[in-house]
């Protein structure tokens, strides 16, 4: 693609404004920025307004109007990155490069930027440099990398360590990332021949396929837990000629990385799951919405799709069956956690800002390009294939009555064996801590920042929709961690950073809550502050989507389960104190208008 002009990029996407994301990504990759002139050119080429281009461009973290450097470093700033020594790494980068984070060197060679969780929690500190991932960084390694950049080395030549396990060493992936699959269950096991399930379902009616999925009681594995079979059925019944299957691979919940591993090792299974969903609901188009952080998997995944097409498992007359048609393409995001919310994901795939839609209508009725759309998590689609192979009764024999099947977990933090574990629903936190060898555990964050912070007295609670529901992220904190300062504050800042800004509750309250938390951390808190935080947590529930509704969870859940951490910081017995002083507050206006404060 080197040397592509805006014109050729626009032509590549047939001047289709709904492909604005792809266009901006290609331009950004090509020019390392999207300037005002380029915006003008794109707007003209797509026959849309500059504001339309601008609003999408300004929404996503990985787009920039100014050059981000020939080498662009994005260093993860999630909680676990800090726990694994991020501060030293950041300092090493700044010293070696000669500029601060958020800046680009004067010669335009290297840019340093912070970024939210990149899905490498089990191998932190990690950074993305020109779409390649570098894991387990050390200050020494940073010096080497910067030296290579200054010598103008190609990014692919900058790996010194061996490439990772499994397909991470595939020539089209060629990455130092590791899978760390510690416990393989039915979903991760390799026991389905490519095309096997397609052969099976084409002997069934779509209704029979949906019935099997419904009977298994499987629920969405992304976190929200909506029954998958029901979703397919709604979409099948929705009127509309064209329907779409989306696979949501935008796992952005800090601490989650299991989809990355599934994509690396089980891509064929996943695409077969999407094809099966297409058959069941009557859709011919599938779109894998992949987070930009996983761009290093692009060539490999595209190759898998291409080979499946050649083998007749994708495309026209799939499996030799007439009129069974299904195509898959990859849609990249550009750095926005909120796009993991299904309607925001659809908006993004249409080339717009990733702002969640107001519902109803639900995506199954009116989704992508106003057509009925199913959005399923990576793991859900893989599980669906296994259900089809072994049957719903088998699936129901796993897990608990209310939570059937297994869950692939991403476990990180203070334990000896961070990585990916597939377990049946119903395990307790204690079971898991034994399995991963957690030590001196003070707290476990279940379900990422939007989930719950659990204290040891609740470690006998079980993972499952009936108790602790989770999209799969578990982060372990030992007794050396300052929960409020290192964890809760970081998570709250994450939500502030990732709010789409549509609802004022979510745009403003997390900032107000963060200020209150800082006030308490600075020893200026009073009891009313804690009560206010809980009250504001309730107000955030008024937000449109899950991000806003859960943005207060780090604070409210830590107050509920670790209240002593807050109360021990209260220095005064006063119930209410904010430091507001009317005389000080009017000073600026008095000076501006030559008035005497007569308050």
């Amino acid at each position: 693609m080197m040397g592509a002009t805006v014109d050729t990029i626009l032509s590549k996407y047939r001047h289709d404004s709904t492909r604005l994301m792809d266009i901006l990504i290609d331009v950004q990759d090509e020019k390392s920025c999207i300037s005002d002139d380029t915006v003008k050119e794109i707007a003209k080429g797509l026959k849309i307004s500059m504001a339309d281009v601008e609003q999408t461009l300004s929404f996503y973290h990985f787009f920039s109007k100014t050059p981000t450097g020939k080498y662009t470093v994005y260093l993860n700033d999630s909680v676990v990155a800090f726990m694994m020594g991020r501060e030293k790494i950041a300092k090493a980068f700044e010293e070696a490069v000669g500029c601060k984070f958020g800046e680009v060197t004067a010669d335009g060679l290297i840019g340093l930027f912070n970024t939210s969780c990149i899905g490498m929690n089990d191998q932190e500190p990690a950074a993305i440099i020109n779409n390649r991932v570098f894991t387990r960084l050390t200050p020494f390694r940073v010096k080497e990398l910067v030296k290579d950049m200054k010598a103008g080395k190609d990014i692919d030549e900058m790996y010194s360590a061996k490439t990772g396990d499994g397909n991470n060493s595939h020539e089209l992936v060629h990455s130092v990332v590791n899978n760390h699959i510690r416990k393989e269950g039915p979903i991760l096991k390799t026991d389905v021949r490519q095309g096997e399930i397609i052969e099976k379902i084409t002997k069934m009616t779509p209704e029979e396929v949906i019935k099997e999925i419904k009977d298994s009681n499987i629920r969405g594995r992304g976190g929200a837990g909506f029954p998958t079979g029901l979703k397919w059925e709604f979409c099948r019944r929705a009127p509309g000629k064209q329907k779409y299957i989306f696979c949501n691979a935008d796992e952005g919940e800090p601490g989650t990385f299991k989809d990355r591993v599934i994509l690396t090792e089980k891509a064929k299974l996943l695409f077969e799951g999407m094809t099966m969903a297409g058959y069941a609901v009557g859709a011919t188009q599938g779109i894998l919405y992949l987070r930009y952080e996983y761009k290093y998997l692009q060539k490999y995944l595209e190759d898998v799709i291409e080979k499946a097409e050649k083998a007749g498992w994708l495309g026209k007359n799939i499996g030799g069956r007439k009129n069974f048609e299904f195509y898959i393409r990859i849609q990249f995001g550009a750095g926005a956690y909120v796009c993991g919310e299904e309607s925001a994901l659809i908006e993004s795939a249409e080339g717009k800002r990733g702002e969640p839609r107001d519902r109803p209508p639900f995506p199954v009725e009116k989704g992508y390009l106003e057509c009925p759309t199913v959005v399923n998590n990576v793991e859900t689609l893989c599980a669906a294939v296994k259900i089809m192979k072994y049957g719903s009764e088998w699936y129901k024999s796993l897990g608990t009555a209310e939570s059937t099947g297994t869950k692939v977990l991403s476990i990180s933090g203070d334990c000896f064996h961070p990585g990916v574990y597939e377990i049946e629903w119903g395990f307790t936190i204690n079971n898991i801590l034994d399995m991963v060898a957690g030590f001196n555990v003070q707290a476990v964050q279940v379900g990422g920042p939007s989930g719950a912070l659990i204290a040891p007295n609740e470690f006998d609670r079980i993972l499952g929709y009936e108790d602790l529901a989770t999209g799969g992220s578990l982060i372990i904190f030992n007794e050396s961690r300052n929960i409020l300062k290192d964890v809760v504050l970081n998570f709250t800042e994450f939500f502030i950073e990732e709010s789409c800004g549509s609802c004022s509750t979510c745009r403003i309250l997390p900032v107000v809550m963060k200020d209150k938390l800082v006030k308490i951390l600075n020893g200026l808190g009073v009891t009313r502050d804690i009560d206010d935080l809980l009250e504001w947590g309730k107000i955030l529930k008024a937000s449109r989507c899950g991000l806003g509704q859960t943005a207060a969870n780090p604070i409210t859940s830590s107050i509920n389960n670790f209240r002593h951490l807050y109360t021990s910081l209260l220095k005064t017995k006063k119930d209410y104190e904010t430091g507001f002083d009317l005389n000080l507050a009017v000073q600026e206006a008095c000076e501006a208008t030559n008035r005497i404060a007569n308050v």
């Binding site: 206010d532 937000s543 449109r544 507001f580 009017v586 600026e588």
Partner: protein, 182 residues
């Protein structure tokens, strides 16, 4: 049963929250069976004539007068409720926060595109006028607030349910449909 006494005020707000109070429609007849209004724009009582049970505050504090009114409410009301976006978080008026006051005044009275006839370039500074605060403060920064009712404006149903629950001493039942913004 003694009627609960309610006071209301609009500080740095747009009166939209008060409009929403009126949006309880005919239920206002039911309301006055259980509450009595004191200081409020609804009955135009300008000063507290007795201690109140509930004070509803619309808007945050943008000037010295807002602060005095809010403190007066705190002294005279047992329970203080921040009603709506501006009272809770500052709201639209708080968009000036972060811009120096001098700049705001110059934009409003001297250089702004809608300024037509201020040839002497006067920025109002009569001692009678309330003095602007350095920024717009949400109510909880100035006095202790007991409850928060979200919305811009909060739905009439939300205000109704909250008031009735308070008056009857019941748990507030505020489902998503009632507190949701869109």
């Amino acid at each position: 049963m003694n009627k609960a006494i309610v006071a209301t005020t609009s500080l740095a707000g747009c009166f939209g929250c008060h409009m929403s109070i009126l949006d309880i429609d005919e239920r206002i007849l039911e309301l006055i069976e259980v509450v009595e209004f004191n200081k409020s724009p609804i009955d135009d009582i300008k000063k507290f004539t007795k201690k109140c049970d509930i004070g509803l505050i619309e808007g945050g504090c943008c000037n010295s007068e807002n602060v005095h009114v809010l403190k007066d409410f705190r002294e005279n009301c047992k329970i203080l409720i921040a009603l709506g976006e501006c009272a809770i978080m500052g709201g639209l008026p708080a968009m000036r926060n972060g811009i120096p006051i001098k700049e705001c005044l110059e934009e409003a009275y001297i250089g702004g595109p809608t300024v037509q006839q201020n040839h002497q370039k006067i920025v109002p500074n009569d001692p009678e006028l309330p003095i602007l605060l350095d920024k717009v403060y949400p109510c909880h920064e100035v006095v202790k607030i007991d409850y928060y009712l979200p919305g811009c404006p909060p739905r009439a149903d939300l205000i109704w349910k909250a008031l009735i629950a308070l008056v009857k001493g019941e748990e507030m039942d505020l489902p998503y449909e009632v507190i949701k913004f869109d």
